[in-house]
Symmetry: C2
Subunit: 315 residues, 2 copies
């Protein structure tokens, strides 16, 4: 049944917050989330999909609200013992979290697609929304610095996003294909809007948009596409978005976000702290509070964003 | 430095108890344990070595005394989540235990030998004794029933050793080789005795003896070889030894154990409950209490067994 009404493009933590708000509006399979898998990597023999897991845990109500990543009530016995045994401990793997990596790897190795594994996990966690990997093909985000090319997790986790970023590339993207599940969501006759969540545009949303044909398919859907700016007053709530924009020589402003998404989006939601930048955006903007501290903040921003999208003309 | 004075052949739980007693006598690298790896298997992408891990945990003082397997103070968050995610839960993997499987697999895949990985783990756990896999070559114990051939863990764990056993085979044993570490231990000029621990002769000791050249090398060492019977009054303390002997049409007696090890051992330690069977054994026997309930029981039996071995003539 092709009943998708809202499609969200999202990376991990920041995007998942808005996705949770959207889920409160559409608490069934009318919500679809197209999720970045450029951060996926193989570690200790396991296929790890950090953004998909963040979506799963967040939409299941099992995410760690304090840490901002991982599971609530996580335990760390595996990690402590791995450290004692001289194993690599730079990437934190909670005891429960580990089960998803192990079981995902097992299912992928027997031939299941990542989309199928993700749908299975979502069902196990009682999530009705469709959590769709951007592709079942491996696309790997790499960060180019002045001297080297770093795998995403190497850059982001091991080196704490400290190296200066000069460019980003999505290895393998040219041969990636849209899944039929993603295509079904984008082409749903009931689709009302596409929301680009306030994830890092360069590291979380661009990998999704790098899948050949995806951006054009989004445009052809005919529904309004609205992005929520990840910036508040020249800073990102979490993560290196602002630092990266500076390193790329881009002003840390909503106008730069608008320019980045030009040709894709029809409207931009920006924070009240950035109201002065509104006119520079050059497209319809909604100015609201975008900081999502409480669940109600998430729901309110979701409502405002969807309502704003409805005011924009269908193409 | 080739200083090995005692060599113990052992499987998991029962054998590890005596190994712990031997470690109390020789709390350094003068004790070597040659361990069954016929139970090893690949599960969820990991190389699991149950008997080696039991030795590691036992000699480190971190084994679960109540369960009789696994680690003390183990937690089970991974397993609970794996079950929620629809993964296979027939083989229990504790959160801390899991770290050894993951790290072992990582090291094997980068080219370390199982013997090297095991030595590394032992060092991490503060164990001075040499814990030596019977071979670095894969040997896999299989149980033949009336209708089928079962992998060891399938038979032992998943089917709880319930199928009737008709024969045991050690797949791959003909191409297995002794490691130079094992050879060094067996040929140590300081070697005083070789102890076959009270493990299951058919499922835990025979795989070790199936490594080509091993039995002959043990004999050529010239030191007394003594086995400790795993039976007490016609029953095994733990595990299916007695059931298997019945299924193989062998009397459940120390004399049958003696016959099984004929040509290998020079003496047998039997329990006081089996004293009447002493003469039927047909070789020197020591009759003592073999039930190891306390640490002192383990140490006493180790002392008695080593002292008994010293009374037997060098060949």
């Amino acid at each position: 049944m092709n009943t998708v009404e809202l499609l969200a493009l999202t990376g991990g933590v920041g995007g998942a917050k808005l996705a949770l708000g959207l889920q409160a509006l559409l608490p069934d399979d009318r919500l679809a989330c197209l999720v970045n898998t450029g951060d996926d990597f193989d570690h200790l023999g396991m296929h790890i999909s950090p953004d998909i897991d963040t979506l799963l845990y967040t939409l299941a109500g099992e995410s760690n609200q304090v840490a901002g990543w991982g599971r609530a009530d996580e335990t760390w016995a595996f990690m402590a013992m791995l450290g004692r045994m001289g194993g690599p401990t730079w990437f934190q793997l909670g005891d429960s979290d580990l089960a998803l990596h192990v079981e995902r790897t097992r299912r992928l190795q027997r031939g299941d697609r990542l989309t199928e594994v993700t749908a299975h996990f979502a069902a196990c966690l009682g999530i009705a929304a469709r959590i769709l990997p951007m592709s079942d093909t491996a696309v790997r985000t790499e960060v180019l610095t002045d001297s080297t090319s770093l795998g995403f997790q190497d850059y982001f986790v091991r080196l704490r996003a400290e190296p200066t970023l000069r460019a980003v590339q999505f290895r393998g993207h040219e041969s990636a294909t849209l899944t039929h599940e993603a295509l079904e969501a984008i082409t749903s006759p009931s689709l009302k809007a596409i929301i680009i969540c306030p994830s890092n545009p360069y590291l979380s949303i661009d990998p999704i948009l790098s899948v050949p044909g995806l951006a054009a398919t989004l445009r052809r859907s005919g529904v309004p596409i609205v992005a929520v700016s990840p910036l508040i007053g020249g800073r990102a709530v979490k993560g290196p978005t602002a630092k990266i924009m500076s390193e790329l020589g881009v002003p840390v402003t909503p106008a730069a976000i608008a320019a980045h998404y030009r040709g894709i989006i029809d409207g931009l939601v920006i924070d009240i702290a950035d109201e002065n930048d509104r006119d520079a955006c050059g497209l319809p903007t909604l100015v609201v509070r975008t900081l999502m501290e409480t669940l109600q903040d998430r729901i309110t921003l979701a409502e405002q964003t969807v309502a704003f999208a409805q005011t924009l003309p269908r193409r």
